[in-house]
Amino acid sequence: MLARVANNLFWMGRYIERAEHTARFMNVNYFSSLDAPNQLSQSRQFVLQSIMSMVGDDIEDKTKIKEEDVFYNIGLNAEKHYSIIQCVKFARENANSSRDMISTEFYESINKFYHYVMNYPKDIFVRSGLHEFTTNVTEHAAILRGKIRGTLLHDEIYALIMLGINIERATQIIRIVKTKFEDAQKATGGYENPIENSYEWTTLLKCCESYDMNRRYYKKPPTQMTVLEFLILNPNCPRSVINSLNQIFYHITILDNLEFRDKTSAAFLIGKMRSEYQFKTVEEIQKSVDKFIKKTLDKLVLISDQLEKEYFYH
């Protein structure tokens, strides 16, 4: 497979996943704040800041954040690199560049997704379309994943797309954890032990579509500890970091079976990180959540860079 096309497929996977997480985060955060149990987490400014911080756009003057601007920037502003519309555009452009490699069915779905986002009216979106638009974005992304799994050959092409999807998923999950962890530190009150039992943990789980399963697994209201354990270390939770790492490891071995045990190779780095997280405990993470988050993000960036070096620039 061409190195350029490999790069396209990898990033297509990343952008599809990114669009979905951004949409879901915006949706869940906004709607759950409407009836949140304490003053701060109910305040518009608080939730808008949280949304901006998740996409990595930290605004200096936080008193001037306007709801419509935040919605527009993150949803449909093609000038913002983090906007959903931009992610979808990039995803489709990458699909275009590798169109001969992917199935007609999958291409048709990504094309429909693109036209849906491109044609969504801006004024409706910022006034009343938030729920409809973001829900449809997550649905389209789910359809795409289904088409990827169901209509492509499970070979190197599939492995590269899955690498993109899972690296992005692990990254986004950690970013969401980071944002909500910071929110929880700020928004206290409402329960006996403010941080440990914060309402933000529920929101966090819902942002990752993992609330119901968390309740089923622990049979108790979510706490900081159970949420971190679930979203980072539970291999059966499809959104957990370790689940993504398992996927990443599985798919990198299709490209590189580690026969030569090259210590600097992407496959080796991935294997090492996966083994470490496989036997990590939530207590270790809780010692310093900030540091853990930063280290995880750094490692994921390193892996992505190594993949680029090894596979995309021959």
């Binding site: 061409l2 350029r4 001969d100 048709e108």
Partner: protein, 488 residues
């Protein structure tokens, strides 16, 4: 069966009997081939067609079967309009077309070999030397170079029309990078989805075997010493107007779609950059114009070519499909000599008619053209896509004068032909929500390999959607029809 009795969908069909209508004869009777389909279509209301047409459009759009149009303010993604009424060609008629286009392709191939080698056709005084030497498409780099398998024009797109006398005439032989074949297959799929019922009543040839034959042809011209050749399609990139077709071909051929930047040349061999290192490339189906192929040999400013490709080609280490330099033979000035070319190389009579052509570089012809410009179509010899054409009876006096001036400035650049009346076909028109007469032509696709020839049994029927318009190119607002070749 007659036009207008008991078929509501044709109730407003204006049958201009001065034109050759493919469906109705002079007395408004349905031609035998179309009887069944007219009967079936009459069972539908016009509302059915309105909704089918909408669905077909949406389907093309969603599948991304689109092309870019640049002439307007910004690039726009457009679908190639597809018509719900198929064009039907009888088996006997098709046989003649098929033999005729193969004959032309073979003759052109011999001609190309000759003008890049011995030049005997010039020495024998059949074609004037300056016609070749003045052609910008004659590549000196190709002189005395033997393309693998001895084939230049592996892929030819021949444009035919049916004149008011009911006979086919060839308008053009496109042997550079003819496009449109992907639409042949898409049109068939779209019509099957929309009106599957009609297919049960006709026995028609499939059009899905193009890719396998093309791959066969490509492999037949592999470089010497290669067992299983590595074939690729090269595209200028995703912003090219025909990118859909490039990706479609690569996908159906099952080979890589590369861009110039994916390839490099080392020691006169061509390689592509893959995730596991360089991989040798043997046959390149290029969808890039000659002059952009290699910045070291042709245009220095080409950013889409591969430096060193031509040197590798010269060494015989890679095949290029179609060969560089074929453009000299699809020059409209050479077209004039097609009957002579066929006779000279194949010693055969031309099977398909050529349109009488006046060559502005010849004194007598130029005189005739200037005197009769109102009755002629004037075309530049080296433009494609319907650009630069003027149709005599559509011009004002002032325009006629300016066309004359343009011709006189560079007579070599122009030819003129009598205004041919393209046949018309019932075509669904969006604005009036009814079927109307529209002009159509036919592009066939011929493949030529080492000892092999193949014609796709179908071809692309292009239709000029604007009323009265004779230019069918997609860049000028043309659409297309599914084209059926009957088995019996």
């Amino acid at each position: 069966m007659k036009l207008n009795d008991s078929n509501p969908i044709f109730s407003s069909y204006q049958n201009n009997t001065s034109l050759y209508d493919e469906i109705f004869d002079q007395d408004k009777n349905v031609r035998p081939t179309y009887k069944k389909i007219i009967e079936l279509y009459s069972g539908h209301s016009i509302n059915d067609f309105v909704s089918l047409n909408e669905k077909a459009k949406a389907s093309f759009f969603n599948q991304g079967i689109t092309f870019q149009v640049y002439s307007e303010e910004k690039a726009q993604e457009k679908i190639f309009p597809f018509d719900l009424f198929p064009r039907i060609i009888e088996a006997k008629e098709w046989n003649t077309i098929e033999k005729g286009v193969i004959q032309r392709s073979k003759a052109l191939n011999e001609f190309l070999w000759d003008i890049y080698h011995e030049k005997s056709i010039i020495k024998d005084g059949i074609i004037p030397m300056d016609l070749i030497s003045s052609s910008v498409n004659y590549l000196r780099q190709m002189i005395d170079l033997d393309p693998p398998g001895g084939v230049y024009n592996h892929i030819s797109g021949t444009d035919l029309i049916k004149h008011s006398d009911g006979k086919y005439y060839v308008l053009e032989d496109n042997i550079r990078c003819p496009s449109g074949v992907s639409y042949v297959i898409c049109n068939r799929n779209a019509l099957k989805r929309a009106l599957f019922g009609v297919f049960n009543h006709y026995e028609i040839h499939s059009v899905t075997n193009y890719a396998e034959n093309l791959l066969d042809i490509m492999e037949s011209v592999k470089p010497k010493g290669v067992d299983v050749p590595n074939c690729v399609v090269i595209t200028p990139g995703i912003y090219n107007s025909a990118y859909y077709e490039h990706s479609y071909l690569a996908k159906t051929l099952g080979i890589e779609l590369v861009e110039g930047r994916d390839l490099f040349v080392e020691k006169d061999f061509v390689y592509m950059k893959t995730i596991s290192g360089p991989e040798k490339v043997d046959v390149i189906y290029r969808r890039i114009d000659d002059t952009f192929l290699d910045p070291l040999e042709f245009r220095e400013d080409s950013a889409i070519g591969i430096p060193g490709l031509f040197a590798a080609y010269k060494r015989g280490n890679v095949s290029i499909v179609n060969a560089p330099g074929t453009g000299v033979a699809d020059d409209k000035a050479i077209y004039t000599y097609m009957p002579e070319i066929i006779k000279y190389y194949l010693n055969e009579k031309p099977i398909l008619n050529n349109v009488q052509t006046y060559h502005c570089s010849r004194k007598d012809d130029l005189k005739y053209v200037l005197e009769n410009i109102g009755k002629l179509v004037v075309k530049p010899v080296d433009e494609a896509g319907g650009y630069g054409i003027s149709i005599g009876n559509r011009l004002t006096k002032n325009e006629i004068e300016s066309v004359k001036k343009v011709i006189l400035e560079n007579p070599r650049k122009y030819i003129a032909q009598p205004i041919m009346s393209l046949s018309v076909h019932a075509t669904y028109i969006d604005e009036s929500q009814s079927f109307e007469q529209r002009h159509v032509d036919l592009r066939t696709f011929t493949l030529l390999g080492a000892g092999k020839a193949f014609v796709l049994k179908g071809g692309l029927t292009r239709v000029a959607l604007k009323k009265g318009n004779l230019i069918v190119n997609s860049s000028q607002g043309g659409g297309s029809k599914d084209t059926w070749v009957l088995k019996k």
